[in-house]
Symmetry: D2
Subunit: 340 residues, 4 copies
Amino acid sequence: MKIGIIGAGRIGKVHAESVTRFVKGATVEAIADPFMNAETEKWAKELGIANVYKDYKKILDDPEIKAVLICSSTDTHSPISLEAIKAGKHIFCEKPIDHDVDKIKQVIKALEGTSLKYQVGFNRRFDHNFRAAKAAVASGRIGELNTLSVTSRDPGAPPVSYIKVSGGIFLDMTIHDFDMVRYVSGDEVEEVYASGAVLVDPEIGKAGDIDTAVITLKLHSGAIAVINNCRRASYGYDQRLEAFGSLGQVEVHNDTDSTAVLSNADGVIAEKPKYFFLERYMAAYTAEIESFVSAVEKDTEVEVGVTDGLQPVLIGLAAALSVKENRPVKVSEIASKYGL
Amino acid sequence: MKIGIIGAGRIGKVHAESVTRFVKGATVEAIADPFMNAETEKWAKELGIANVYKDYKKILDDPEIKAVLICSSTDTHSPISLEAIKAGKHIFCEKPIDHDVDKIKQVIKALEGTSLKYQVGFNRRFDHNFRAAKAAVASGRIGELNTLSVTSRDPGAPPVSYIKVSGGIFLDMTIHDFDMVRYVSGDEVEEVYASGAVLVDPEIGKAGDIDTAVITLKLHSGAIAVINNCRRASYGYDQRLEAFGSLGQVEVHNDTDSTAVLSNADGVIAEKPKYFFLERYMAAYTAEIESFVSAVEKDTEVEVGVTDGLQPVLIGLAAALSVKENRPVKVSEIASKYGL
Amino acid sequence: MKIGIIGAGRIGKVHAESVTRFVKGATVEAIADPFMNAETEKWAKELGIANVYKDYKKILDDPEIKAVLICSSTDTHSPISLEAIKAGKHIFCEKPIDHDVDKIKQVIKALEGTSLKYQVGFNRRFDHNFRAAKAAVASGRIGELNTLSVTSRDPGAPPVSYIKVSGGIFLDMTIHDFDMVRYVSGDEVEEVYASGAVLVDPEIGKAGDIDTAVITLKLHSGAIAVINNCRRASYGYDQRLEAFGSLGQVEVHNDTDSTAVLSNADGVIAEKPKYFFLERYMAAYTAEIESFVSAVEKDTEVEVGVTDGLQPVLIGLAAALSVKENRPVKVSEIASKYGL
Amino acid sequence: MKIGIIGAGRIGKVHAESVTRFVKGATVEAIADPFMNAETEKWAKELGIANVYKDYKKILDDPEIKAVLICSSTDTHSPISLEAIKAGKHIFCEKPIDHDVDKIKQVIKALEGTSLKYQVGFNRRFDHNFRAAKAAVASGRIGELNTLSVTSRDPGAPPVSYIKVSGGIFLDMTIHDFDMVRYVSGDEVEEVYASGAVLVDPEIGKAGDIDTAVITLKLHSGAIAVINNCRRASYGYDQRLEAFGSLGQVEVHNDTDSTAVLSNADGVIAEKPKYFFLERYMAAYTAEIESFVSAVEKDTEVEVGVTDGLQPVLIGLAAALSVKENRPVKVSEIASKYGL
């Protein structure tokens, strides 16, 4: 199965390398990026990618290419998705599909009646730790879920220039955690109350965003989820989760580079968590593409579908409104604005 | 220094034994309980307590007794406090002082102009783990606090008959966690949003209470605290805390009976947390009385004063109102109802 | 039951305080020490000890005193034991009974035909962690034991003046570990190979001792035990054990003052082990006396008998000979020298 | 750089896949195996290996191939090494070079005067955990090493048919641990005392081998190392190490598939160690070949040279003699038998 990659930035390159090395039965036939340069061309050649383009339309026009990975900037995700659907390509699209619910709706509509696969890049669902947590919950090992607590803190904030176009913390960062809540609970979020603060960098506040948040989510089952976010964790990327149920609790901790522990006069010192998402989730990036390729080849359901792409955006918009108006907001209130 | 204990229930006996064994310079001179029986008398004699009464007024009348520990039922805490103040006794009062803010105000008023010590029984402030967390935060080792997360889950729910007179989960159980937030942060709570559910036992719901809750608290500094509570944790008493700051994070875990870890074909199995509060906090019960005795003898500030007894009640009432009306509630809204 | 304590040094005081506070049905009636001074007398009075002597014979002469705790210097353990047996006292004797096997034999002989209890102070058998390890092994949870590994390292070496009269590392320090091997395995040591080095302090070498050792022990069952010792562990008192069997493994770790863990730019930092034996084993000192008092009162077997006092000395002598001659030494070789 | 792989068994395939996927600047040009079959040919083609042979001499004859990986059966390691040296190939040879010291000497001699690289497959030196331990020791973070303890236990014993040709536990299994002792300590072993037992399977004993061992090693510096081995650990592959020094201790633990921990009424249950060497050391297999390729290309010293291949065999022979004669054996005693 030949794959085309649209976007040769950091995440496009990650996918190109993991497909080439690991994903059996798939090869990267082409990669396109409007800012394609000599260095990237060299990298692509060394990796054995046959075609390197500036214009992604050449990928869509190539009848040999069965599926595309959309790794371009967020604002182009939905328009390129529409074009790719028209071109009859299966699509793996990096998250989020769009910040604009109407544009996501257009993608959903365009997919109707086709047999195309559309997978959204919520890579954490393929992380060994979160998968183990999900398995413990889904198998009933903790009984009925009553509380779900997600800790998700970045080692450092992105530049304020990025913050300004990010869609805000809830659509940029927490969106992964909303997905985790849905994934691990196997349930839907009904109501959101978000408490936000600017405690890391006042410039983030000036840009109209927050950098620290605690978000409470009421789930359909009655269970309560809570997410704590921060744009800065001086000890590294903090990605943990605890699920509490009637029969027990399961928690997943951070990964480290090694299990070494040093004991000396200062204490008993273990390693910090892996630095950031590329270090923590590298294997998950491969696993999600393997899953996508398998779904295409075997014509099965993708593991993270277009609805899984829509819901966290609705939750994120509810969270943003909750902070703005300091009140709990039902997800249905947001959905109804968009006729959903 | 001679001490009288009012109330010979479970907690009164805990204090009697720990004063007798551990608290240097203090002896239990008398213990009173309206339900005093032969068994308790025998226990008191063996412990070397000189006087055993049904009527606590005999303790208040004894000029030899310098301080009293009020360990009677919650509804009697404030009236006995008032009598003890009138009798010129220093007071250690189990939490809460009262569920009724007006009655707490009476105690505060009665103390004005006296030099009497009044300590409230928030024993967790004297737990080795929470003290270590507090020290890490107070010393600046984690920098500026931005998020505080408290996990507080009981091994099992009390009888519904108790639930009915408990004042509700926030005044009965979470009150300790509100105190922990104030203690570890060194800050005051300004606003509360509480999300509650009945997921453990429908009888608790019929009694008008909830058994599972997530409470978000905005602190004066802008930091956000979150508490997760449940009346049932099948793996034992879950008492943990994480504080996140600009320079790092500190967390405290549960205590166990031993450090033994068994590895076999089923996994790597460590012990469950200590069963419940008597097991977990036994040393803290001694430490709080040592602190109280020291404050009386050296005429220094008590570590947990009457204001520390009032604030968690206000926060608890705000939390209860928040659940009832599903909105964030300012603590000042509650306070102003009581002219505070 | 009235107890007399012979020796008011550090360990004598530990026992006096724990009997007074914790051991139900037992009181310290008298304490004797040739170096008794005003300060110790004051301490004894405050603790409520009726009689304070310089001459321990007054304790032996007191018909009210049913049992004695021998906490004097090691060289006096066996002669005082003999006198106490003659006086008809039950005896709890600090370890070791003697460095000289012949003197231990005299004690054993003196006990014959009496109904006196004689317990040896191997306090670690009463430590919560080692007890949990023993229970896991004895219950069959790890199957058939094949390997037992003991880590036992002191925070710092004692003064060389002490080293000189200590009997050497094997009789002074490792003797506890030999006892742990016997206790946890429930088996006897047949052969010893010890490898020793002077790596902490050359003065210890000049005094004829070693400060670092690894000792391999063949047990009767065929299982192999190994002990690693050092007189200095800069991170605190390192007291751990791992037992491996056909069905699994059990390990016990060190205790700490709190469970607090600090994560910052330097790592994930937990607390060091508790500093030394008084911190680590305080509860065990109480538990061993409770056990002794119970054995006396109920006329049951003591948990650590005179044979348990003898065997580790034989093993220690075998270890010392092993280092001297750099060869494995059978415990029976040592025993036969003494007609055992 | 073109590589030929001699031997297409399990480990040959592991190297073929990791070179193809990960090792930049290297490709597998050919693979040879006397038992080459259709299935393996198919696998090789899919991996993009140009040539598949039964006869490894075709690899040695190919002037395009610069280096060979010898992954054939142990008895062929040294003869093929000699041929490959004659053919001017750089060599990566799986451990051990040979069980026969004379044959290793022949390889060493054949290498003299050539500029060929010869690396031995002690893959654990490239494991993230052991590398972290080595770094802690080498950097002085634990001060002067005094004790080194290696735990190395397999999940299950190989078939007795394998045991019979394995060279015995010390040359087959412990050889890796002897290498770890040399690697982490940066020191040489001078004397060995090994205690062995048959506790896993009597058939292993009948085959003339042992299945459980504790080996004490005296190092040149005076430090003492100890290894504990067993052919069966029902909880998985147990690969740990502790190094103790004057300033502290470093330990490395097992890897697990995830960090998930389940707390329920049975305890607090973490995952077992990764199952066996392929699971635990997969990344190390890649890293060792990357290191080898780099040494060839940059003409630098290999990280595990032919002496590193010889020394553990001498130590293993000393250990075997030690068990046989139940006495400590100097490595020099073995070496001198072979004129070393």
